[in-house]
């Protein structure tokens, strides 16, 4: 698993976009990601829909790889950490966090995060809040047009790439405008919204082999 990077300057900060759908903010030694939807496949299985378990294992593997690659003191999850209620996969995550106890995990509450705050803290998350500001950047779950610099998730952005032969395919993407940055969903087991969400935005589309800038 090779992590491909694309450095951008945004909000006067140097941010590293990775093709693993997370951002590394070096100045703050912080990893930023969104929409993990932990326990989603287990939730499906509980309701009689057989989704393979590997999908969840793979998500954690990628997260582990990111934590090992960069010098990370803090992880900010901008919402939808846990898909539904506690289940085996959510407990897996508790074990995962125990192995990275020196890293401070912060959750910005998303619409899916309906688990009680106490239970979330029990997993090993250091704090839960509805928004957070680090330096000049505010973190929220749902993108919200405002004057300050804002990083969010929620909509699972993606882009459609059209080939000359009229074929097309869809890729997850970071959407970056003047003052807003929307993260793609971290989990593999999520859909894409390819509608245009922000005016004058640049899309950083993610492929296995790198990041494609689409204006």
């Amino acid at each position: 698993m090779i992590i491909h990077e694309q450095e951008i300057t945004w909000a006067n900060q140097k941010l590293i976009l990775t093709n693993k759908k997370a951002i590394y903010w070096k100045a703050q030694e912080t990893l930023i990601l969104s929409d993990l939807h932990l326990g989603k496949s287990a939730h499906f299985r509980r309701n009689g829909i057989p989704i393979p378990t590997q999908i969840h294992e793979k998500d954690l593997e990628v997260l582990e790889k990111l934590l090992l690659q960069y010098h990370v003191k803090k992880v900010v999850v901008v919402g939808d950490l846990i898909h539904a209620n506690a289940n085996g996969e959510v407990l897996d995550f508790k074990l995962f966090l125990e192995r990275f106890s020196s890293v401070e995990f912060i959750l910005i509450k998303g619409n899916h995060d309906r688990m009680s705050e106490k239970k979330v803290l029990d997993l090993g998350i250091k704090s839960v809040c509805s928004s957070l500001t680090l330096d000049n950047i505010t973190f929220v779950h749902e993108p919200d047009k405002c004057a300050e610099y804002q990083i969010s998730g929620h909509i699972h952005p993606g882009v459609t790439v059209r080939l000359p032969t009229n074929k097309h395919f869809r890729l997850p993407a970071f959407v970056v405008s003047e003052n807003m940055l929307i993260l793609p969903a971290f989990s593999q087991f999520t859909g894409l919204d390819t509608k245009k969400v922000l005016d004058n935005a640049v899309n950083y589309a993610i492929t296995d082999t790198g990041i494609v800038v689409m204006r």
Binding site: A42, H43, F44, R45, R46, N47, G48, I49, P50, I51, P52, T53, Q54, I55, H83, A84, N87, G88, H112, P164, T165, N166, K167, F169, Q188, F189, T190, G191, K195
Partner: protein
């Protein structure tokens, strides 16, 4: 007089018929006697000749002759493909029973049936129950279901040809097989209209080693086909615009009839015809209705009733009125544009002139002049009774796993016993034990054999070794999602004030902006906002978009394609009786002049150079779907010779490869790219099979229970269980490539999308034909409609008219220059 005719049952029924001035048709008497003698079988008869009575009265006769063999409870299950058929059928059956003087009760059970009635039925079943394949399976999912069927004598599948080549047909096969195992003496009867593969149709329904017989009525429905000719022939025909010109010819046909159905092929075409008919003859207001799948069910029901009662002058419809109850007042049918198949054409014609010896009259309105060839072809097909096959579907694992959960839900099953049931169904006679094990593991542990998903307990094996569903929530989700009809996500369209208009596909409405206007149910509507799957609109006027509904384009059947090739060849020297071909003479002459009219043993390829670039046209007459595959294959094979890229266009007659570079192709090379060798290998290389399989997986995922279907009108509380089939497809491709349902998606691509057998046949035909390779400097009559169709996809309708006119003028100019 035969012994059977002396039985009291026969005497009672035939004297009842006599009282009503009727005598049984031979095929009816035959069916009665065979039922009396314990046969299963299939009745083949045209609409209007009493198909229903042939089997239904047979059961009554048998009951009257042997009342002691019939016990209390459900005796007869009658399955129809349409809910709307059931109500009328039940009424007619009850009437017959009452008049004959029996005490049987006939009832309907389907999605429209009141819950209270269903509960009462579950406690005490009527004697005859009318079901749809879905409500039949729901009955099998009921606790204590085996009690319902204890005294069942017969199962009858009505309109079997409608179900045969669909997954609903597979549902029928499985349910029948289940009951047949529990009740070895159960009689199974099918009723069907004429199709090409009658013997196979019977084998699919009754694959069991029992006494069985096919009974074919000698009576034939007479059909009179009348072409509506345009005022003059266009040499360069293009689809669509003729409608406007021919509407003046259509109005008098409607005025001279009691009641008319105007059939179109797509919903947008029906909206268009509804408009132009009203514009051409404003007095139709209030007497003309529009009927298609996106119109509110209540309005559709009202239209159907009004049509039965003779209150409507005409209804413009899509295939939504192909089937269903008889509309007695309808004496005229108009078909706009190609019907794409012989069977559909005959079925539509049969919607007029219902009583047995009445002639069904159908007018054919071409949307471009070339379609007149099709009339000639259809006339021949009707004369020689050349009707398409309906291919049964096999090894639909998605339907199977759904059925397994259904059976587990209604009291459970034993693995070995149910395997016998499944194997006895036609569709699953080839299932291996390994595949069976996979299906069982799919519903118990989630798919991968040997891999246990701890949280997954859809179906569990209890202490008595029975496979059952224990969780209520899973039972509820399964019942809600049961069935194999998968529909697009639909958005309700409502007026701000509350009035409900109909439904449109979500993908269409989400493309519109606030203030955009569109047409639905014959009205111009302005979009105000979309909220929670409802689009709020206000009435408006002026220019508006007609939604182009997906799936509206039916491909041309192989039968009709073959006949078209023949008639096209004939058009060079038409007989005096073939008015359509004679009418087309100027067009044919122009095609001969510019290029060539292929004979039946020839295959025409045209290379045309225009200002835009280079066009290669081929005319296999195999229908749009096959042409889609063939054109990518041709493009692929040419690009193997030298680097070049193409854009492609196609209609039902042929296809075009277009490039701004010269398409250099010698006769030798042309033969080479049309070779039948390595066909499927090159096809696989030229298409994106994974992408196509992903699309096929959409339905499979819903049927197998991967995706919870968003049922219109039902409260949805499963938001956290929503995942698109596309994501699941990707996940499975990566983590479980041997998943049977995934493999089924690829099989469906090859059998249905690529139509492998038809493609192979087409290439064999082409390879044994003489290849005619012609060059032209302007579009020929055959190529023009294809070119126009490709423009249509990329241009708005206003640009299109101007652009086409320019192309026609250019072509004509070149023509004049040459002369």
């Amino acid at each position: 007089m035969s012994k059977f005719e002396q039985t009291s049952g026969y005497e009672i029924v035939s004297s009842w018929l006599n009282e009503h001035g009727r005598t049984p048709f031979t095929f009816q008497r035959q069916a009665w006697e065979k039922i009396h003698n314990g046969y299963s079988g299939m009745v083949v008869a045209p609409t209007g000749f009493g198909k229903t009575y042939s089997v239904f009265l047979g059961i009554l006769i048998n009951y009257m002759n042997r009342p002691d063999t019939y016990k209390k409870g459900l005796k007869l299950i009658w399955v129809t493909p349409l809910r709307s058929l059931a109500k009328d059928l039940a009424r007619a059956m009850q009437e017959a029973i009452d008049q004959i003087g029996l005490d049987w009760v006939v009832e309907v059970r389907n999605g429209d049936t009141d819950v209270k009635i269903k509960q009462r039925q579950s406690k005490e079943m009527p004697d005859v129950l009318l079901l749809t394949p879905e409500s039949w399976h729901l009955l099998l999912a009921q606790k204590g279901r085996d009690k319902f069927f204890e005294n069942l004598k017969a199962v009858v599948i009505d309109e079997w040809h409608e179900l045969l080549s669909s997954k609903r047909g597979v549902m029928v096969e499985l349910a029948t097989a289940y009951l047949k195992l529990k009740l070895p003496n159960l009689l199974v009867w099918g009723i069907t209209a004429t199709i090409g593969n009658l013997d196979e149709a019977m084998e699919v329904l009754i694959p069991y080693h029992v006494k069985k017989i096919k009974i074919v009525a000698k009576e034939k429905k007479l059909i009179d086909i009348v072409s509506v000719f345009p005022p003059e022939v266009e040499i360069l025909p293009w689809a669509g615009h003729l409608g406007g010109k021919l509407v003046d010819e259509v109005v008098p046909i409607i005025l001279n009839s009691k009641s008319t159905i105007v059939f179109t092929n797509t919903r947008s075409q029906s909206e268009y015809w509804y408009q132009i008919l009203l514009d051409a003859y404003p007095d139709f207001a209030g007497q003309l209705a529009l009927h298609h799948g996106s119109i509110d069910m209540q309005i559709r029901n009202w239209i159907e009733e009004a049509l039965s009662e003779g209150k409507l002058r005409a209804v413009v419809s899509t295939s939504s009125l192909d089937l269903g109850v008889d509309f007695k007042p309808v004496d005229t049918v108009i078909q706009v544009g190609s019907s794409k198949g012989v069977a559909r054409f005959m079925q539509r014609a049969g919607r007029s002139g219902h009583s047995p010896y009445e002639v069904s009259k159908i007018y054919f309105v071409p949307t471009h002049s070339l379609e007149l060839i099709e009339v000639a072809a259809l006339k021949e097909a009707v004369k020689t009774n050349l009707i398409e096959d309906r291919e049964p579907l096999v090894l639909c694992y998605d339907v199977l796993v759904q059925f397994l959960v259904t059976i587990a839900l209604g009291g459970g099953f034993r693995k070995e016993e149910l395997f016998d049931v499944v194997q006895s169904a036609y569709s699953f006679q080839w299932i291996t034990e390994e595949e069976w094990d996979w299906c069982i593991s799919f519903i118990t542990v989630g798919g991968k054999i040997g891999k246990n998903y701890e949280e997954f307990h859809k179906v569990v094996k209890n202490e008595e070794r029975l496979y059952v569903v224990e969780k209520r929530r899973i039972a509820m989700l399964h019942r809600m999602n049961l069935g194999v009809i998968v529909s697009d996500a639909m958005v309700k369209v409502k007026f701000l004030g509350g009035g409900y208009i109909g439904m449109v596909e979500e993908y269409f409405i989400t493309k519109l902006k606030q203030g955009d206007k569109f047409i639905l149910a014959g009205r111009v509507l302005e979009l105000i906002r979309i909220k929670e799957m409802t689009a709020y609109v206000r009435a408006s006027q002026g220019k508006a978009i007609t939604p182009s509904w997906l799936g509206g384009r039916l491909p041309l059947s192989s039968n009709l394609g073959g006949l078209l090739r023949k008639k096209l060849a004939d058009s060079k020297n038409p007989t005096s009786r073939e008015k359509e071909l004679k009418f087309l003479h100027p067009l044919v002459a122009s095609q001969v002049d510019k290029s060539h009219i292929p004979s039946e043993n020839e295959f025409l390829v045209e290379k045309i150079k225009t200002r835009e670039g280079y066009h290669l046209f081929m005319y296999p007459f195999e229908g749009r779907l096959v042409h889609e595959v063939m054109s990518s294959l041709m493009a692929y094979r040419i690009s193997q010779l030298y680097p070049i890229s193409f854009s492609m266009a196609m209609n039902d007659y042929g296809f075009e490869l277009f490039s701004d570079k010269d398409i250099e192709l010698s006769e030798e090379q042309l033969k080479h790219i049309l070779r039948k060798e390595d066909l499927m290998k090159d096809v696989t290389a030229s298409i994106n099979a994974a992408e196509m399989a992903k699309r096929k997986f959409r339905d499979i995922a819903v049927i197998a229970g991967y995706v919870i279907q968003n049922r219109y009108g039902k409260q949805q509380n499963n938001k956290s269980l929503q995942a698109s089939s596309g994501i699941i497809f990707q996940v499975l491709e990566e983590h479980e490539p041997n998943n049977l349902l995934l493999r089924q998606a690829y099989t469906e691509v090859f059998n249905q999308q690529l139509e492998e057998p038809r493609l192979v046949q087409a290439f064999e035909r082409i390879n044994s034909s003489k290849i005619i390779y012609k060059f032209a400097e302007s579009f020929t009559p055959l190529s023009f409609p294809i070119k126009v169709d490709s423009l249509r996809q990329s241009l708005s309708s206003e640009d299109l008219g101007v652009r086409i006119q320019r192309m026609q003028e250019q072509s004509n100019r070149i023509n004049r220059k040459r002369r």
